[in-house]
Symmetry: C2
Subunit: 83 residues, 2 copies
């Protein structure tokens, strides 16, 4: 078994309203920053032991499908690195 | 001016309690997943126009310092990519 960290990034799907990001963007603009768009996402770093990077990725993928992301409104991606 | 996306990842500092991550970890374990640790982080993807990647990074850095991160409890890092 090898120690891996799987990073799951969960984003709102294109077209889903993101009031938190909109508020953050306006607050930055009030501070004088110029920006065109801001998107927020959640990131989960999962430490796990697995036989291979593929195995770690598969398990992180299933965690995203079952709990971390809501497939109706979210897209996600998974990156795996040895720890 | 070139179009960049600056990605700011905001994490809790080591030692700061993260009840959301703890709850998520336990929920995954209840679903039968084996994992050693789970950390959550916020990710902001900021689209901006800048003269150079360094300029984009500097501005994103300042956004993190002034608004996106709370230096008392957060660490952050910034990645910049051309759009």
């Amino acid at each position: 078994m090898t120690a891996y960290t799987a990073t799951v990034t969960v984003r709102l799907k294109h077209g889903v309203l993101d009031p938190e990001a909109e508020t953050t963007k306006r607050a930055l603009e009030r501070l004088g920053f110029e920006l065109e768009a801001l998107r927020s996402a959640d990131r989960f770093e999962v430490d796990l032991e697995a036989d291979s990077a593929d195995d770690a990725r598969e398990r992180a993928d299933e965690m995203a499908e079952r709990l971390l992301a809501n497939p109706t409104i979210h897209d996600y991606d998974v990156e795996v690195a040895e720890r």
